[in-house]
């Protein structure tokens, strides 16, 4: 039964020539889990915001959005439900009907305590105390968050905040839950938990879910209906398995699906029908699919295929890396916030010139503390940090530095930090001023400065945006501007804190290529991240942080090949055949090679 129907909906932003939504006709059924996907800028967010008049951007809309779920409408269940126009709903009805979860967990927290956060929505629509108490008790049972109830919101992690907001929305008992990239800012584990909770809400409560997502590795298989959009219009609609073959894009799809589709596309001769019809959507299905592929194509056993490994041309061996100059070296770093609970213990590592080193690991393993020590906002309890041959950290050292007239190894021609949120770097009102601000006090003439800024704008692909306010740029462009600011300082080492957070697939790849290019010019990168795929693709070496120390450091390929759980989806899917293949492309290439032979 249809719950919402878009009838010839068009939407144009003021002053824009092209439509942001072009003739949208879709029907969303009651109780469905709907996934809206597509490349960035295709109109996904604009589409769902049409259901949320309160936060819908200003623009011109044509067509009708019909809502069939009004409870007080007597026609609802007798087959004659004509529905009502969405615009006819009162603001209070809208708030009750549509729950919304956005991308940034911090921004969705309104009050200071978790219980108040849960009560906030109900307070707004005038719910009585008895009902509020009952609903909060119920939702705490459902989410298992009793122990959080009296916590300060500020003490929650991003994943917990997002979960609290989801609970706060669910407590209002919405008919439709709308989510705009809710896992974009979360680490993989929290993202997984969040998606699992969505599935439970959908299955156990029957709430209709409309999810916009870039990262589809897990979300894709969960949906009942996929709406694939491109260039402002809907390209295909249907069951995820049925439309898997028709999707016009690959970015962000489950690795198993990408591999299967590419292998099928590449195979010139006719493939068995069951391989084409039965596209895999997750790792387990991918493994079965590969097994079937090789069983039907070749009669050789898996043992014979193990010998094949992918060759990356740009691969550098670990011995080679270790002949490069050391630019950053820590020795036996120890740190504790509270006595008796060490956050870092004996943390030692070196970063070489022109190297991309990715430090992976879960929350609370000491990654962010390490960054704070490196940026000198915290002082190590024990151990030393050497940056470009100069010691960093201890109070005595900095006094000695000053006495010698030596400058600190941070900043200009030294080490810089890219914070997680690029907004933490912006001070000015235009992009140009933002870049100019960095050069203040540096020994350049006026013309030299202008030249440098213009050059940098080109490098970060923001030429033409000089007059824009930094906050008016897209997330990816803000990231680029922040990197541009740092690059003007001619850094030798760049520390990056979760640089891929909130970026979609294409922007991630663009960022990765930029980092690789800079590394080849001799800049070293220490990237702290949760993003396994990104590390697998671009890092020279990877390290795993655990319990305050770095437990495994290796060349990216060997690192992931050596891990059993902490590795890419493509590797997990194909490791039985190709243990060293960690990227989908590598698996695809090896599959093709195998099929040809």
């Amino acid at each position: 039964m249809a719950l919402i129907r878009f009838e010839n909906v068009n939407f144009t932003y003021p002053g824009a020539e092209n439509k942001a939504l072009d003739n949208i006709n879709i029907e969303i059924n009651d109780g469905d889990f709907v996934l809206i996907c597509g490349p960035s800028g295709c109109g996904k967010t604009t589409l769902i915001k049409q259901l949320l008049p309160e936060i819908c951007p200003y623009g011109h809309r044509e067509g009708r959005i019909v809502y069939y779920g009004l409870a007080h409408n007597p026609d609802v269940y007798d087959g004659q439900n004509k529905g009502c126009d969405l615009d006819e709903l009162s603001p209070r009805d809208l708030a009750r009907t549509f729950g919304f979860v956005g991308q940034n967990p911090q921004n969705q927290m309104v009050t200071d305590k978790v219980w108040h956060e849960l009560a906030f929505g109900m307070e707004n629509i005038g719910t009585s105390q008895e009902i509020m108490e009952r609903r909060i008790a119920e939702i705490c049972e459902f989410f298992g968050m009793q122990s959080w109830l009296n916590k300060d919101v500020a003490s929650l992690s991003g994943g917990e905040m997002q979960m609290v907001h989801l609970a706060a929305v669910m407590v209002m008992e919405p008919r439709v839950l709308i989510l705009d990239e809710p896992t974009g800012q979360l680490d993989p584990l929290a993202a997984r938990n969040f998606l699992d909770m969505l599935a439970r809400i959908n299955q156990e409560l029957g709430t209709t879910i409309i999810l916009v997502e870039h990262h589809l590795e897990e979300a894709y298989a969960m949906a009942d209906m996929v709406v694939a959009m491109d260039e402002a219009s809907v390209k295909c609609v249907g069951n995820p398995r049925d439309v898997a073959g028709e999707l016009g894009f690959r970015a962000g799809l489950p690795s198993a699906l990408i591999i299967a589709k590419s292998v099928l596309d590449g195979a010139g001769e006719k493939m068995p029908v069951n391989l084409i019809d039965d596209l895999p959507l997750n790792v387990a299905e991918g493994q079965k699919w590969l097994r079937r592929l090789f069983h039907e194509r070749t009669s050789r056993s898996t043992h014979e295929m193990v010998a094949h490994t992918a060759d990356r041309q740009d691969d550098v061996s670990i011995d080679q890396i270790q002949t490069w100059d050391v630019v950053l070296k820590t020795q036996e770093l120890c740190f504790a916030y509270d006595e008796g609970k060490a956050v870092l213990q004996d943390c030692s590592f070196s970063i070489f010139r022109g190297e991309i080193f990715t430090l992976l690991g879960g929350n609370g393993t000491g990654k962010s503390t390490l960054l704070k020590l490196l940026s000198t906002t915290l002082k190590p309890a024990y151990g030393t940090i050497e940056v470009l041959g100069r010691k960093l950290g201890g109070f005595k050292d900095s006094i000695q530095l000053k006495r010698k007239g030596d400058k600190t190894p941070l900043g200009y021609e030294g080490m810089v930090l890219l914070p997680q949120d690029p907004m933490a770097l912006f001070t000015e009102i235009t992009v140009w001023d933002e870049l100019k601000e960095v050069l203040d006090g540096l020994p350049y003439s006026f013309d030299e400065k202008n030249g440098l800024i213009a050059g940098m704008l080109e490098q970060i692909r923001l030429t033409g945006y000089e007059k824009r306010h930094p906050y008016d740029l897209s997330g990816g462009q803000q990231q680029m501007l922040a990197i541009g600011k740092l690059l003007l300082l001619k850094p030798r080492i760049i520390l990056m804190d979760e640089p891929t957070k909130g970026l979609d697939y294409d922007r991630k790849i663009a960022l990765g290529h930029m980092i690789a290019e800079l590394a080849s010019e001799g800049i070293s990168f220490l990237i702290v991240s949760h993003d396994i795929e990104f590390a697998a693709r671009f890092a020279h070496r990877c390290g795993l942080m655990h319990d305050g120390r770095i437990v495994a450091v290796d060349r990216a390929k060997s690192f992931f090949a050596g891990n059993s759980f902490f590795t890419t989806a493509a590797n997990r899917m194909a490791r039985r055949y190709f243990p060293e293949a960690i990227l989908p492309e590598e698996v695809i290439e090896l599959c093709k090679k195998e099929l040809v032979e």
Binding site: E54, I55, P91, R92, A95, F100, G102, N104, Q106, N107, Q108, M109, V110, T111, D112, K113, W115, H116, F120, M122, E123, N124, I125, G126, T127, Q129, M132, E133, I136, A154, H165, A168, V169, M172, L371, T376, T377, K402, K407, T408, L410, G411, Y412, G414, M415, V416, L417, L418, P419, Q420, D421, M423, A424, L425, F426, T427, Y471, L486, L489, L495
Partner: protein
């Protein structure tokens, strides 16, 4: 330390419904401030001191003592210099009489001031955190929300300032020797945090409206229910407040300082009449005895 405060929110006077505890505390403050009777003020002061020591420990209370003594000395000396009434002249200062009575009045005023300060401090400790939000929220829901949002914002701003500072330090802007440069740098960091947070608050306001904020009258969720113990507490407190107010306000028990110090009735009568006042002031101790967790 923190643990002690958390416990405090839940036991003794903190166990009582915040509205009842608040009424009691405000009445205690009024009873302290409306009298200049040294006997009553000593009672109030003793009750205040002993309850403070009980809830915050002697070691932490010790830090208050110099300030309380300072208040006492300032008011005593101050009144001796300002007021020249009184029969017993101690000496003359610049041709002005400095009297015993003025000193006495100043001293009692100082004690009253110290007692009032302690009762305010107790109120601030008992009606803390969520209870403030609740107290305001039940009177004006929007006010309660604003306080709650502010309490949410403060730690968030502090966190953001840390992030911004780390990024600035790593751009080589950490150690300016010049004070002006340092102030300028601080201003820069502060302005980043403010504009960053304002930008994000647009997002927050969007979320608030999708959650129905501004669609009509709000209600106020409260974590506190009115228990039978609260009713009993309030009843006893109000009952004891009557004799206490009588002794404070009645002309029969007035104390005068000028021209000489004295009372309208005998001190014996006064002591008998003050029993109600004394009990009222020590109610928190009784509450401690009854409302504890084990």
């Amino acid at each position: 330390m923190v643990l002690r405060d958390n416990l405090l929110e839940k036991r003794g006077l903190g166990f009582i419904h915040p509205a009842c505890a608040f009424i009691y505390l405000v009445l205690a403050l009024i009873l302290t401030m409306c009298t200049m009777n040294p006997m009553l003020i000593m009672m109030s002061l003793m009750a205040g001191i002993s309850y403070e020591i009980h809830i915050m420990g002697l070691s932490r209370f010790r830090r208050y003592i110099p300030w309380l003594v300072l208040i006492f000395i300032i008011t005593t000396l101050g009144n001796m210099v300002i007021s020249h009434n009184g029969a017993h002249v101690l000496f003359r200062l610049n041709d002005n009489r400095v009297t015993l009575e003025a000193g006495l009045y100043g001293a009692v005023f100082g004690l009253m001031f110290a007692a009032a300060f302690l009762w305010c401090d107790i109120t601030q400790r008992i009606i803390a955190g969520e209870k403030i939000t609740y107290m305001f929220g039940s009177i004006a829901p929007n006010m309660g929300l604003i306080i709650s949002m502010t309490l949410h914002y403060i730690p968030m701003l502090r966190k953001r300032l840390e992030v911004v500072h780390a990024a600035q330090v790593s751009m080589g802007r950490g150690d300016y020797k010049n004070r002006w440069d340092r102030a300028k740098q601080w201003g820069k960091e502060f302005s980043i945090v403010i504009s960053w947070s304002l930008e994000n608050s647009i997002d927050t306001s969007g979320v608030m409206s999708t959650m129905g904020y501004g669609t009509g009258k709000r209600t106020n969720y409260s974590n506190y229910r009115f228990k039978s113990a609260d009713g009993l507490f309030l009843f006893i407190a109000l009952a004891l407040a009557i004799p206490a107010f009588i002794v404070v306000l009645s002309v029969r028990f007035k104390v005068y300082y000028y021209p000489t110090f004295g009372a309208m009735c005998s001190w014996k009568q006064m002591a008998v009449a003050s029993v109600g006042y004394l009990i009222y002031m020590f109610i928190p101790f009784v509450a401690e005895k009854f409302f504890k967790w084990h």
